[in-house]
Structure formats: structure tokens, C-alpha cells
Amino acid sequence: MKIAIAQGDGIGPEIMTAVLSLFDAAGVPLEYVPVDMGEMGI
């Protein structure tokens, strides 16, 4: 299953990367599709 990922602004990318690395380590069977939604994407 695929889900959309918006990393966000500021600390967003760091904490998102951290959380997804934990999901990967736990073997969560999801695929991530990055979307451009933050400050730069408005």
C-alpha cells in the first residue's frame, strides 16, 4: 500500500526521516510517495 508523505517545514524533514526509518526497521509494509506541500510548495 502506498501513502503520501509531506515532510513539512523547519524540523519536519528531520523528524519525518527519523520516524520512517523506525517504520522501515519494524518492517512496516508501506510505500511512501513524497508530495510537495510545504512552504515552498504553496
Binding site: 519536519g12 523506525l22 519494524a26
Partner: protein
């Protein structure tokens, strides 16, 4: 948001989102608000739970917290429909609809039942807002009938907030309208240690958004020291939402174990222990996968099958309830500008008023000032004049228009609202003191 981003999210149906900057310039709406409005995520669910290792006033007192706040996410004053009626008087419109209330309340009951809650409470201010919050409360008890195993009750918001800060353990699931829910959500985040520990999910029929509600903390950006817990908790809600119950429980247990062990990022916990950076904190949780915390361990449920669905709506869905009673118009409230005393306003209206109608009451800021009132009531330059048909006989829109023409000869009419009845039920409130 780019069109590609919108298309991707709409076809996948699930968005996992980090914190976003809210633009403060005029005319630019925040991504968060746009997302809620565009995709109709009508329910905002936030779970506030005691985490061992995160010290709060309540954890020190040994009072465990496990609260779920469900907030209506579209309606209320958040439509932002506001007008200046005179240069002194602003008016905001507050929308509460039957189908909108039903969506969020039904979601709350379903969710409460699934997680085995013992109590579901409606927070409201129906003692003052008898029509709007009255409707929300009415729908709450209508839906409650379908869930006889859940204890459903209601509390007036001011009382609810006092009780939440003194005995938060008395509550389980609380459902509220938008503004009241907005305020109480952050209050509850404070009870469990702040927004860094508060996950959030915006739920709609087609698209769901899981996000951290804290800010973007630009001052520590790029330093690898931010606390990822709120985003992680939101991610776990996402996993449960798509049926990955086992994975969610395993990670949750590892997180709880990690917090119990005293591992922390710089923003919380025992300051005598060294703070971990974001990467180290996550690495610790990874190392603790498979371990069971002493408090609040999650049962390792089996994953449910995932059925991804592609959503493509051809037209707007109309949400509407059945009209059970005959509707009739029985008059109108005219909002007029005037700097004169109430009796003079009344005299002007009564002179030449169609004999089918009565001038029933005149109020100023909601308080009746005619036919009876108090000289101590301060006046602003805008009155609400209620004109009703005698014996609440039905009248036509044309007759209301004639009334308007009568009123506009003597006043600037700022706004007008029809007085509707359904059967014997009035679709309007009485003035204070009427």
C-alpha cells in the same frame, strides 16, 4: 500545494504530514486549513495519554490520563463568514448543521466503540447557544441511541474544562464543535506534557491526514535535536487506520519502553540524564523493538488486510437529512442601524406596519430593549427588530420583501434573517429577557 501533490494525495487517500509553516500574510490560507476544507476531513481526533517518562503534574500525582478529543473540523465560526454591520458592529456567522454534526458524532461513537471506551461525552454550550449547540447536542443523543452499550452524557464546556484540569481521568472520549474543540485540544495536550506528545488525525470519508500539530521550530531546524514523538504517535494512528495493528502495537511498546527507560530528547524528561539527538532517540526505539513496557503495553493484535482504494468523485456529495415537519416562514429579524432610543425605533416601525404582522421585540446585542428593557442596558448603533405574523400564520417571501421595503424607508437595513418554523418548533431563539 502543487496540483501534482493534490492529485497524488487524492488518489492515495492517506497523507502523513510533518509540521508546516502557516503563512501570516493576508489572503494566504494555511495548508492545514486548505487540506481540511478541500478534502472534507470533518473529524479531528487527538489522543492524550500519560506516557511514563514524561513528567507532568498529573503523572507526579499518580493520575493516569487517557483522553480522546474528537473535534468537528469544518463548521462553526471557522467558515470565517464575518461582516461589519455598522462601523461599530461586527457579526460572525456560526454554522452548525445536522448532517455535519452527524458525521463527526457518528465517527466519535464508532471510534469509541472500537477502542472499548467506557464513556463518551458531548461538550457544548447549549444553555446559551440553544439553536446551534442545541442542534449538535440533539444529534449527539440521537446517535447515542444506536450505541446502547456506551455511556453517553454531556457537559457544558466551562464545567468540562474545569473538570479536565482537576480530574482528567474521569473522561474518555469527548466530542465537541470546532472552536470549543480547538481550545480544549491544546488544553489536553498540556495535561500530558505539551504538543510534543500529542498526535492528531484529520478524518474524512475519502482522505485522512495524520500529522504532528506542533510548530516547525525553525530555531532548531537542521540540528538533529527535535523530538519526533508526536509525529511518531500520529504515524502509529495511521498504521492502525490502515489495519497494521500488529506493527503499530510493536512500535508503540518499543516507544513506551524507551520512555520508561529514561531515554529522552532535550525538551523533556530528567535533566540529569544526557539528552539524545533525534537519530539516537529513534535508534534506541529501534533497539527496543520487541520489548514490553511495564505500563500500558499494547496487545499485539493481528494486522487486518489492507484494501487500498482509488477515490475519484464525479460530483459533490450532498449530505442532507430528511425534513420531517412542514416548514413555514412566520416573519423576519431585521438588523438595522440606528442611534435612537428603542421606543423611537419601535414607533418608526409601527407607523404603517402591515396589520398582518406584529413587532414582537427589539434587542440590542441580543438583550431585549423593547417592549420592556432596562435603562442600564448600554446600546450600540445596531438593533435587531423581530417582526412576526399574527398567530404565526405562514407568510410568503414576497410579504417579507414588502416588510423590507417598509423598514428601509426609515432605516439602513444591515441584514435580515427569516423566522422559520417546522411544525410547532421555532427555528430561532428568543431575545435575552424576552
Amino acid at each position: 500545494m502543487t496540483p501534482e501533490a493534490q492529485q497524488t494525495i487524492e488518489s492515495l487517500g492517506i497523507l502523513f504530514k510533518g509540521p508546516m509553516e502557516t503563512p501570516k500574510g493576508k489572503g494566504v490560507k494555511s495548508v492545514n486549513v486548505t487540506a481540511r476544507k478541500t478534502w472534507n476531513t470533518y473529524a479531528n481526533k487527538r489522543v492524550f495519554k500519560t506516557l511514563h517518562g514524561v513528567e507532568t503534574v498529573f503523572s507526579k500525582a499518580g493520575i493516569p490520563i487517557d483522553l480522546t478529543i474528537v473535534r468537528e473540523n469544518i463548521e462553526d465560526t471557522y467558515g470565517g463568514i464575518e461582516h461589519m454591520l455598522t462601523h461599530d458592529v461586527a457579526l460572525s456567522r456560526r454554522f452548525i448543521t445536522r448532517p455535519g454534526s452527524e458525521q463527526v458524532i457518528r465517527y466519535a461513537f464508532e471510534m469509541a466503540q472500537k477502542k472499548g471506551s467506557h464513556r463518551i461525552t458531548c461538550g457544548h454550550k447549549a444553555n446559551i447557544m440553544k439553536i446551534t449547540d442545541g442542534l449538535f447536542l440533539e444529534v449527539f443523543y440521537e446517535v447515542a441511541k444506536e450505541y446502547p452499550d456506551l455511556k453517553a452524557d454531556d457537559v457544558i464546556v466551562d464545567d468540562l474544562w474545569m473538570k479536565l484540569v482537576t480530574r482528567p481521568d474521569l473522561f474518555d472520549v469527548v466530542v465537541l464543535t470546532n472552536l470549543q474543540g480547538d481550545i480544549v485540544s491544546d488544553l489536553c495536550a498540556g495535561l500530558v506534557g505539551g504538543l510534543g506528545f500529542a498526535p492528531s488525525a484529520n478524518i474524512g470519508d475519502h482522505i485522512c491526514i495524520f500529522e504532528a500539530v506542533h510548530g516547525t521550530a525553525p530555531d532548531i531546524m537542521g540540528k538533529n535535536i527535535a523530538n519526533p514523538t508526536a509525529l511518531l504517535l500520529s504515524g502509529l494512528a495511521l498504521l492502525r487506520h490502515v489495519g497494521l495493528m500488529g506493527h503499530a502495537a510493536r512500535i508503540k511498546n518499543a516507544l513506551l519502553y524507551t520512555l520508561e527507560s529514561g531515554a529522552r530528547t532535550g525538551d523533556f524528561g530528567d535533566k540529569n540524564k544526557p539528552a539524545l539527538n533525534t537519530t539516537e532517540f529513534i535508534k534506541t526505539i529501534i533497539d527496543n523493538l520487541g520489548k514490553t513496557p511495564a505500563h500500558g503495553a499494547r496487545p499485539l493484535l493481528e494486522d487486518k488486510p489492507i484494501t487500498p482504494t482509488q477515490y475519484k468523485l464525479e460530483k459533490n456529495p450532498l449530505i442532507m437529512s430528511e425534513e420531517l415537519m412542514q416548514e413555514k416562514i412566520v416573519g423576519a429579524d431585521f438588523f438595522v442601524e440606528s442611534e435612537e432610543q428603542p421606543q423611537l425605533v419601535a414607533d418608526k416601525i409601527l407607523a404603517g406596519l402591515n396589520t398582518k404582522f406584529d413587532l414582537v421585540t427589539i434587542s440590542n446585542r441580543g438583550t431585549q430593549v423593547w417592549p420592556k428593557g432596562s435603562v442600564f442596558t448600554n446600546l450600540v448603533n445596531q438593533y435587531r427588530c423581530r417582526i412576526e405574523s399574527k398567530g404565526t400564520e405562514p407568510c410568503s417571501q414576497e410579504e417579507i420583501l414588502q416588510l423590507y421595503q417598509h423598514m428601509m424607508k426609515v432605516f439602513k437595513v444591515c441584514s435580515i434573517e427569516l423566522l422559520n418554523m417546522w411544525g410547532e418548533k421555532k427555528g430561532y431563539s428568543l431575545a435575552q429577557g424576552q
